[in-house]
């Protein structure tokens, strides 16, 4: 039988490092039921049998305010773990024990793993471990999560102390509250009020703390008891506010800290130097968050991240492309021409290949983000930019998601959406998830490049800068709009720790990167493959009817019937470059027939019909059916807009990297001008995210509702902006 152990502790206390150290690769990341909080589980074999370990979300306290805290608390209450291993940062003992005390008040069996003793020693903090253990009456084991030192001893202590619930710690909260608590405890016992799950005194304390989760449960359990308890609380609250100008919540926190302070003062801890003395970390902060240097360093670091991600991931992305090209080549020669071949190559291989092509990018991006997160720099970025983001209802920590998504043109919304996970505040996080797809990701760039080159060739740089600005302003304004309408709510407090800078552990970064990448790959195998096939079908079916196909066949035979057999022979055996002038001309006419056939097929396909159907509306934004199809294709991946435009304009598939022929065509085409081009640019910035991003939004927001919202809302918004621009533009110019 395995023993269930729970790892708990403050953020930045080394909890995840210890978890990785204990479980190694034997871990599994999932979600707690119904919420998007990550649940990490793993097993650890020790000399004392197999332990199953759950890594609780890092929290400072156990209130009902944050999702993490509620999740942690519910888990502890429902699962009755045999031991709560509380990782405590020795260099930050007083604040870390605040959580410990709350575990003990719940009556949970606790073992303290005293981490970062080395840091404490460096700061000349002396801790009497035995004394601490004796005063708190729980085992305390010094460990070093990074090096794994003390791991054996910790496991031994855990296994020799496993037990069920223990006697709750009783702290005095002052005479008024204490006597009320006694009374309430008795009442709760008598009525068996919520006692199936919770300790009586703990429930009473939660009533004093005005804990919404418990009081709501209480109302459901027994309204009469609930009212009586509320009555007692109200009386004490009134009394405290008159006599001491304070309230029970404040008193309770004060006394908890008071209790910790009194324990520490009994010779547990001694400081040889001023506790608030500047440490190395603070000295770094003086420079890194400096008013002038801070922003400059930040920009340099972001550029570094981009450079690292995009230049180094290019090589493995190339391998992926070659691999899928190779697989496609095999399929091309192995399968007979026809629908199956088209499905395998254009539907499955291109679709999955396109998605897996992101894998190296995501790995590199997360390697970088994990480094910044674990080192502590991410918290500083949030600190510096919070003022700006807050104006728009976001949070300082939104910055990473925006930048990764293409805040500086060329990111990718997929890792961007996933990077929003570093945000702990649910409302700001949702607003961030929904607005980062407006950033200019690398796949939108070919579309912009094509249009800018064709219609704004003289002002390329200015127009590109304008595009970046528009996407930022748009994203921030939409965030503001969402936060004052459907995601309304108070700003989450920015009471945040700036953890000391630490060199991240390689193991930690690799595990972190792998987790995210693997989650992404799993998606590619399921939902994304399905959508990719649907999109392929939309652009293929119903295809051309027989008379039409026959027409193209006839055109081909007309061309070939008038040329000599010598030239035909030449076409059969020679490559394009070696053809004679006559043969080349014939070849080109034949290719033109192919292109025209593809064009006719596309127009007749479901996507084409959708495109034609919407022409009536989209003409207000300046788009004809061809542009519409391209935009439908862009839902697969934004750069597909370019290649589909190529097919729609009968010049074959266009390589997004090489678009000269298409820009020439567009310049000459009917209905195209700078106005239409810019209208399309605006639409591309704002319309529905590509489906890979949509899938990620669904996962990160925890519901398909928000994913659907982003598709519909963004498209409507984009259409509105484009029409407005096009109509006003048509009048002005």
């Amino acid at each position: 039988m395995s023993t269930a152990i729970v790892l708990a502790g403050n953020p930045n206390s080394g909890k995840t490092t210890l978890f990785n150290e204990l479980t190694g690769a034997r871990q599994h990341v999932g979600n707690y039921p119904g919420v998007t909080v990550e649940k990490k589980q793993g097993t650890c074999s020790s000399d004392f049998g197999k332990l199953s370990i759950v890594d609780l979300p890092g929290t400072y306290s156990l209130t009902a305010y944050s999702l993490e805290e509620v999740v942690a608390r519910d888990f502890l209450v429902n699962e009755n773990p045999s031991m709560v291993v509380d990782i405590v940062d020795a260099s930050n003992l007083e604040r870390n024990l605040y959580l410990t005390v709350q575990f003990m008040e719940m009556g949970l069996p606790v073992t303290i793993a005293l981490n970062m003793m080395d840091v404490a020693e460096k700061r000349e903090i002396k801790i009497d471990i035995e004394k601490l253990s004796e005063l708190l009456n729980v085992p305390v084991v010094p460990i070093n999560a990074r090096s794994g030192k003390g791991k054996k001893e910790l496991l031994k202590t855990i296994t020799s102390h496993v037990s069920g619930m223990v006697e709750s710690l009783r702290i005095s909260y002052g005479r008024d509250i204490d006597s009320a608590l006694d009374k309430m405890e008795e009442m709760i016992q008598v009525f068996g009020f919520l006692t199936a799950k919770y300790r009586a005194r703990w429930v009473a304390i939660k009533y004093f703390e005005n804990d919404s989760q418990i009081t709501e449960l209480g109302k459901k359990e027994d309204q009469k008891v609930d009212l009586q308890l509320e009555g007692v609380v109200q009386k004490v609250t009134d009394h405290l506010s008159v006599t001491l100008d304070t309230h029970p919540e404040g008193m309770i926190a004060d006394h908890r800290y008071g209790f910790i302070h009194s324990v520490l003062k009994q010779g547990v801890i001694s400081y040889a130097q001023d506790r608030n003395r500047l440490q190395l970390s603070d000295k770094i902060d003086k420079v890194v968050t400096n008013q002038f240097l801070g922003p400059i360093i930040m920009v340099a670091i972001i550029m570094g991240l981009y450079k690292f991600t995009f230049s180094y991931s290019e090589i493995p992305i190339g391998w992926f492309e070659n691999f899928f090209g190779w697989v496609g080549g095999i399929a091309d020669s192995a399968l007979p021409d026809g629908l199956l071949k088209s499905l395998v190559i254009s539907g499955i291989i291109d679709g999955v290949g396109g998605v897996l092509g992101f894998v190296p990018l995501i790995m590199f991006m997360f390697l970088g983000i994990a480094f910044f997160e674990d080192s502590g720099y991410l918290a500083r970025m949030a600190f510096m930019l919070d003022r700006v983001f807050r104006m728009f209802g976001l949070h300082g920590s939104s910055v990473m998601a925006f930048i990764v998504s293409g805040g500086i043109a060329g990111g990718c919304a997929v890792p961007g959406v996933m990077a929003a996970r570093t945000l702990k505040s649910p409302k700001e996080r949702l607003a961030t998830l929904l607005t980062v797809p407006f950033m200019n990701c690398g796949a939108k760039l070919p579309v912009f490049a094509l249009l800018v080159a064709a219609f704004f060739a003289e002002n390329e740089a200015i127009v590109m800068l304008l595009i970046t600005l528009i996407s930022w302003i748009g994203a921030l304004l939409v965030a503001r709009l969402l936060r004052s309408t459907i995601i309304k709510g108070e700003a989450t407090p920015f009471v945040m720790e700036l953890p000391p800078y630490r060199l991240p552990t390689i193991k930690g970064i690799l595990i972190h990167t792998w987790e995210r990448t693997w989650q992404y790959i799993k998606k590619a195998g399921t939902v994304i493959l399905g959508v990719s096939i649907i999109l392929w079908a939309m652009m293929t079916f119903p295809g051309l009817d027989e008379t039409k196909t026959q027409e193209f066949e006839n055109r081909r035979s007309t061309i070939t019937s008038i040329v000599s057999s010598k030239i035909l022979g030449e076409l059969d055996i020679l490559e394009k470059d070696n053809l004679s002038a006559n043969a080349l001309a014939v070849k080109e006419s034949l290719t033109q027939v192919d292109f025209d056939e593809a064009h006719a097929g596309l127009k007749n396909s479901i996507a084409g019909r959708i495109g034609s159907f919407f022409e009536g509306i989209t003409k207000f934004a300046g788009f004809d059916w061809r542009t519409n199809i391209a935009l439908v294709g862009g839902f697969a991946a934004k750069e597909v807009v370019v290649s589909t435009l190529g097919t729609a304009y009968s010049i074959g598939e266009v390589d997004p990297e090489e678009t000269t022929s298409l820009s020439d065509k567009l310049k000459a085409a009917d209905g195209w001008g700078p106005l239409t081009a810019f209208s399309l640019i605006l639409f591309t910035i704002f319309y529905a995210p590509c489906f890979v991003t949509v899938v990620c939004i669904a996962k990160e927001a925890g519901s398909w509702k928000w994913a659907g919202f982003s598709v519909v809302f963004n498209t409507v918004l984009a259409f509105g902006v484009s029409v407005l621009f096009y109509q006003i533009g048509s009048i002005v110019f």
Partner: protein, 74 residues
């Protein structure tokens, strides 16, 4: 004096924390309670939020959150 008005490097002792609800809880959970000594460590480039030192670690707080905290400056 209100925490918002404190200068960088100024130190003092917290006299009262007026915030209630979620903000109050978060502030207190991090140890910002009457009697604790704090020191203003720095401010973000746009002067908000503020970072301060308490019980040997660094904490950040927005100015409108600092408004709830009264400090007796040394």
């Amino acid at each position: 004096m209100n925490l918002r008005q404190m200068q960088v490097d100024q130190a003092g002792t917290i006299v009262s924390v007026k915030a209630v609800g979620e903000l109050g809880r978060r502030i207190r959970d991090m140890g910002l309670i009457p009697g604790k000594e704090i020191k203003v460590q720095g401010r973000a480039p746009l002067k908000d939020p503020v970072s301060l030192r308490i019980m040997g670690f660094t904490l950040t707080l927005r100015n409108n959150e600092a408004d709830h905290i009264e400090v007796e400056v040394q």
